[in-house]
């Protein structure tokens, strides 16, 4: 095996490892395409393997661009909060817009999960779970020390058992609304999302 082959194989092995999370077929397809790219570029005797690998960038950064692109694409069509949160988290690493979208996503999903949890807790903690209102108070929460049977208390529970359907509706709306909003933002800023700035050298007119 020549030094060139060894350097190429080492690079491709790193790329294959860094593409974890993708299917075996996807990974091998990507690795083969990059292998063919390197071989074709190597056919020019003026170009060294070091230059070619530098042009491709570090294997983990190249893999990250693939993973981000696929993840964002999945998130645009997925209704899974996990997939959407992973995509926004990846986006958050690329700039301020991504970070803001991530904060919106995490806030929306936490609200949704919070409402659903309250609906689930109501049968088990009926006296402590509810919509609490009073002077300076208006919150859906589990409140130790409150009671739904004492409306004269400064802070009292308002909804009673209606809390369950109200929280189920609000929770579902929060989850669905957050998903739709993030999918809209992923489409709206589609060209900004999948690119991760790489650190290798580039000419003045180059786009990374």
């Amino acid at each position: 095996m020549t030094t060139t082959d060894k350097q190429m194989n080492d690079y491709l092995a790193q790329l294959r490892t860094a593409l974890n999370g993708m299917t075996l077929a996807e990974r091998e397809d990507i690795v083969e395409e990059i292998r063919m790219h390197i071989r074709e570029r190597c056919s020019d005797p003026r170009t060294s393997i070091e230059e070619i690998l530098a042009g491709l960038g570090p294997a983990d950064e190249l893999a990250q661009q693939y993973r981000t692109g696929v993840l964002v694409q999945k998130a645009r069509h997925s209704i899974s909060p996990v997939v959407i949160l992973r995509a926004t988290l990846r986006w958050a690493t690329t700039g301020v817009e991504g970070f803001i979208v991530f904060v919106i996503a995490i806030t929306g999903y936490l609200m949704g999960v919070g409402f659903l949890l309250l609906a689930l807790l109501k049968p088990f903690l009926p006296k402590y779970t509810g919509l609490w209102v009073g002077p300076g108070e208006f919150s859906f929460s589990v409140r130790m020390g409150g009671t739904m049977t004492n409306p004269a208390s400064p802070v009292h529970e308002l909804l009673g058992w209606w809390l369950i359907p109200v929280c189920l509706v609000l929770g579902s709306l929060s989850l669905a609304g957050t998903t739709k909003l993030i999918q809209f933002l992923l489409r709206r800023f589609r060209w900004k999302v999948p690119f991760i700035t790489t650190t290798h050298a580039r000419p003045a007119m180059m786009v990374m």
Binding site: T68, V70, Q73, P194, M208
Partner: protein, 131 residues
């Protein structure tokens, strides 16, 4: 006339804006490159460089093509090449052709409108150089 001096942050902001603008055009450029027929990754890079002065980092084109494929805008196929090793060729799908057309129309309208707006800026710049 003395050339105005620009601070480093101003130049950096200008570079960033240019980089963002180019990124925004990448998808359209790649789809337009494939308009006349199928091509493989390295060939697309060369055409972009030759015809549009859009020089991509070599590692950038493949993730873009992969994303366009998952979006259904292009389709790919491995083909045995005369060079002795197979190449992965990409070609536009119907959706890809539609998207490329829409993008080209939008780009033309947008740049024509903006061209009128920036014309005085460019004219003044020419005048400054002449002086």
């Amino acid at each position: 006339m003395a050339q105005p001096k620009f601070s480093a942050p101003e130049i950096e902001t200008s570079d960033k804006w240019e980089a963002q603008m180019r990124k925004g055009c990448l998808e359209m450029a790649v789809l337009a490159t494939l308009w006349h027929g199928r091509m493989y990754g390295l060939e697309i890079l060369r055409v972009l460089k030759r015809d549009s002065r859009l020089v991509l980092a070599e590692g950038t084109i493949y993730p873009i093509l992969n994303r366009l494929r998952t979006e259904g805008l292009v389709q790919s196929q491995w083909v045995e090449a005369e060079a002795g090793h197979p190449r992965k060729y990409y070609e536009l799908t119907q959706s890809g052709r539609y998207r490329a057309t829409r993008m080209a129309e939008t780009w033309t309208d947008f740049s024509a409108g903006l061209g009128l707006l920036i014309e005085p800026v460019l004219n003044d710049k020419k005048l400054e150089r002449a002086l």
